[in-house]
């Protein structure tokens, strides 16, 4: 009877209300972020010097500082959430994060599924080999050799274009580990990460053999449909570049400006 249909109606109307609210926040992520005063940022936390923990255990790094500055300029609190590479994407999809700051390269296949900010860093690709390996002197030499690459990185495509045999790895650290243990011959990787590694382990028997002229650009990454937020973030980035904040951060981490 009527008694039974009562809660039913209530439920439906309720769902609709929420429906509307949901749509609003979906359409305007920026409004949601400003509303809650928090920007949820996904990052690995294990990728120095971009995102890692310092001696005191605090999360820091180039990407972290950039993201903090961006949040500042949006007038919200940055909240970092750390996880593994694959979980980071899943987390963005699941709306656990609003944005990812983790040196994610801007690539067409990613742009299919995600939005990117304007590039905030350009890094050179370098070819790394063991010091005792005299046979590798340039990118042309790696044909048929085993190269350790993150499957999701631009560097993998680069290695493929020189006909190296790809050995898939989780990230920079694992690539170096494989190189060290003579399980692979080379890796093409990010110059800045490698420099940081050498700083930590100066006597590691690996070195840069060659630097590639094509440079890769990275951006902050968002779910599709975050246009309003992306726009605001781009504005913030632009401001940072113009008022010298960006240059400061960059000098601090790399001793040079890494924008271009």
């Amino acid at each position: 009877g009527t008694n039974e249909s009562q809660p039913n109606n209530e439920q439906e109307s309720n769902t609709e209300d929420n429906n509307a609210a949901e749509k609003a926040s979906e359409n305007d992520l920026l409004a949601k972020v400003k509303d809650e005063g928090e920007l949820l940022i996904g990052t690995e936390g294990t990728y120095p010097p971009f995102t890692f923990h310092n001696d005191k255990g605090e999360l820091t790094g180039f990407d972290v500082e950039i993201a903090k500055e961006v949040a500042d300029r949006l007038g919200v609190e940055p909240v970092f959430m750390e996880t593994q590479w694959d979980a980071m994407f899943a987390g963005l999809d699941a709306k656990r994060f609003d944005m990812i700051a983790n040196q994610v390269g801007i690539r067409p296949d990613r742009q299919e599924k995600y939005d990117f900010s304007d590039p905030y860093i350009t890094s050179a690709a370098v070819l790394i080999a063991r010091t005792d390996n005299d046979n590798v002197n340039g990118f042309e030499d790696i044909k048929g050799l085993q190269s350790a690459q993150s499957l999701t990185s631009n560097y993998a495509d680069l290695a493929r274009s020189y006909e190296a045999e790809i050995v898939g790895v989780e990230g920079f650290n694992q690539a170096i580990e494989l190189l060290n243990s003579k399980r692979v011959d080379v890796t093409i990787n990010d110059k800045l990460s490698f420099l940081d590694f050498k700083k930590q382990k100066p006597d590691a028997p690996v070195e840069i053999v060659a630097t590639h002229e094509d440079a890769a650009k990275s951006g902050l990454m968002f779910r599709k449909g975050s246009e309003s937020l992306v726009e605001e973030v781009n504005n913030a980035l632009q401001e940072m570049i113009e008022d010298g904040t960006y240059a400061n951060i960059s000098e601090n981490w790399f001793g040079e400006n890494v924008l271009e």
């Binding site: 936390g45 294990t46 990728y47 120095p48 890692f52 923990h53 310092n54 001696d55 255990g57 959430m81 750390e82 996880t83 593994q84 979980a87 899943a90 987390g91 999809d93 699941a94 709306k95 656990r96 650290n173 170096i176 580990e177 590694f197 930590q200 382990k201 590691a204």
Partner: protein, 249 residues
């Protein structure tokens, strides 16, 4: 044969060389000891604030779930039995990592968002519940039917016989396999790092990421796990001995 022997002695030689190189290279040794020392506290914090509470809470909840599931399996009520069977099969049949992913990253897409720690607790509890239910079911079945009947014959009902007669005896039988599950759980908590819980293994990864001494940090974490498991197995021994007091050795 001879070449194999030669190879082995060669390998042993290399191992010696490596260890020598560490112990005769004071800088390297110092670096390693420094790192080991300074990382001990963060690792222990990870263990005490996350690994251990996560393990204990999940095990307690999981055990409750396991008893209910075991009873459902043994209830003779078909629908309950089928639900219990599907639950156990689905959980045991799929990797824990995927289960955690689905709870943490999958449920939000259907509108259910749970925080990292509770998500981990749910995932691990469901897991323990499935594995332990089989252990408890077997343990209950291993108690002779005569014990139920003795309970009934002095007027007990099902619940009373279960609680007073069967479960206390079943617990004795099931302590060794349950502690297997418990020990596995301690280590499985390392997967919680995938859903943002900064437990001990995650701490090890974080520290290693800055100094690139992965082997050292992982070994250190492994040793802490071992200590925890070792303490657990001592506790297990105590409980077993306590429960064995009514059995001739």
């Amino acid at each position: 044969m001879k070449t194999v022997l030669m190879q082995i002695s060669l390998k042993i030689g290399l191992v010696k060389m490596y260890l020598n190189s560490i112990f005769t290279n004071p800088e390297r040794l110092e670096r390693l000891t420094n790192i080991a020392e300074s990382s001990l506290l963060p690792l222990l914090k990870g263990a005490i604030f996350y690994t251990i509470p996560l393990t204990l809470i999940s095990f307690a909840l999981g055990l409750t779930l396991a008893i209910l599931t075991a009873l459902a399996r043994l209830s003779g009520i078909k629908p309950l039995e089928i639900i219990a069977r599907i639950y156990v099969s689905a959980i045991r049949g799929t990797p824990l990592l995927v289960q955690l992913f689905i709870i943490f990253y999958g449920l939000p897409t259907v509108g259910i968002t749970i925080d990292p720690f509770p998500s981990a607790v749910i995932g691990f509890s469901l897991n323990v519940g499935a594995y332990a239910s089989e252990i408890i079911r077997a343990a209950i079945q291993s108690i002779p039917k005569g014990q139920w009947e003795a309970g009934y014959s002095i007027g007990m009902n099902y619940q009373q016989a279960l609680k007073r007669i069967i479960l206390p005896q079943a617990s004795r039988v099931s302590i060794p396999p349950l502690s297997n599950t418990f020990i596995s759980l301690v280590k499985d908590t390392s997967l919680a790092s995938m859903i943002l819980v900064t437990e001990m293994f995650r701490k090890a990864q974080e520290i290693a990421a800055t100094n690139y001494e992965f082997l050292l940090l992982y070994t250190q974490a492994a040793l802490i796990y071992w200590v925890i498991c070792f303490i657990l197995s001592i506790v297990q021994g105590r409980i077993e001995r306590r429960l064995d007091r009514y059995v001739s050795k």
